[in-house]
Symmetry: C2
Subunit: 231 residues, 2 copies
């Protein structure tokens, strides 16, 4: 694995957050000055649920899992945070506490950005505020969709949905390395790990996917979509 280097300045950042484009040079500089860079090893906790939202966290490189620590010690994985993503859960605007935890899956290069510096920009830059509203709304919509699917789809539908999520939202490829364990896939689809194994086998037997333990290859995407949609 190549050694990760410091970014040093937002200007050098190749993966800048898309909404930063609405900022003036001065505003961008104020972000840069309120930035603290960090590198996380795989498995390390980057954000802990319940801790104060003093900063937003920007993903410069690597991937991380975003998860809620639920009841009876069970986790629920909300999704995968990717490079270019700004992690700033709803809690920051509600009760100043992180509403989920984030932990590194690969090595992760990240920047903590002071939340107050951030908040200030909302008031002064309307276009930025609007783009942020759009971002949070998109997140709320995806929660809404997951909530309903959780309620109405059965296991195979939920798992198919997640396999498509990895293909279309994370890796942008129908063949990918499954970065989550079966256990974690279960925490993302709310099913027992044994059931994940079984359904994956079913999907493989029916020729819908090819699953070589750590690799997933979607063979019949239309079929997988159908399974996902029909529940």
């Amino acid at each position: 694995m190549p050694e990760l280097k410091l970014i040093n300045s937002c200007e050098n950042c190749t993966n800048g957050w898309k909404n930063f484009k609405h900022l003036t040079d001065n505003e961008m500089q104020s972000i840069n000055e309120n930035r603290y860079e960090a590198i996380f090893k795989p498995g390390e906790v980057m954000i802990k649920q319940g801790s104060p939202t003093s900063s937003a966290l920007f993903m410069a490189s690597g991937v991380a899992k975003v998860y809620v620590e639920g009841i009876r010690g069970k986790n629920f994985i909300i999704g995968i945070a990717q490079p270019g993503e700004l992690i700033m859960g709803p809690g920051g605007w509600v009760n100043s506490r992180h509403t989920y935890s984030v932990s590194a899956i690969t090595s992760v290069q990240a920047c903590f950005i002071n939340f107050d510096a951030f908040k200030k920009l909302i008031k002064t830059n309307g276009t930025f505020a609007e783009s942020l509203l759009e971002e949070i709304s998109a997140k709320a919509l995806s929660y809404q969709t997951r909530m309903v699917n959780q309620a109405q789809k059965r296991m195979s539908g939920r798992l198919a949905e997640i396999l498509l999520y990895f293909a279309d939202q994370v890796f942008l490829n129908d063949e990918y390395e499954m970065i989550l364990s079966r256990q974690e896939l279960g925490e993302m689809t709310s099913m027992a790990k044994e059931c994940v194994v079984r359904i994956l086998k079913e999907l493989e037997d029916s020729g819908t996917i090819d699953s070589d333990s750590s690799k997933i290859k979607i063979l019949d995407k239309e079929k997988l979509k159908l399974i996902s949609e029909k529940g």
Copy 2:
């Protein structure tokens, strides 16, 4: 039932949206001018999922149910819209389509507010933008919580949660008229209507609640909270 009268002006409105307080008189007037008042009968659809979000909908009086029309014709009830609430789903900021339907439970007095007039204020009034961000974030957080609970709680926990929601969020009273049918309670907790009946009976038998078909009375709130939290 008393005849509902027109409001005629936002100034007369006794239930104004709390975030409107951040607007200047001029801004408030522009809202008032882009307002269309309507009265709905019980059961009437106020917003249809998938329709264009040309307006936000303000609840002046009455209550309505907010629900997603999901797969296989099944509905999922997200919550109850109450007086003073502004209904403006995430879709307006994402793809300009309503992401859920809303239908009146009681008679409802409502105002349609032009969405563009609304959007304009975001850019010019930073405090208003921030208050809106807070509101949407709170909604996103409640979706997140429901999503996780859906996944991790069993039926009794989910139903207990909803009974508490009505007591604490809707009626602000531990004794209330259940405005949803058993079927609808099921659509809100993702369980079959028969199961709703059974669990309600269990709760009644254990002395946790008193349920007289259309009335709910919480007898042992701590116990109900425990059931809700422990799943």
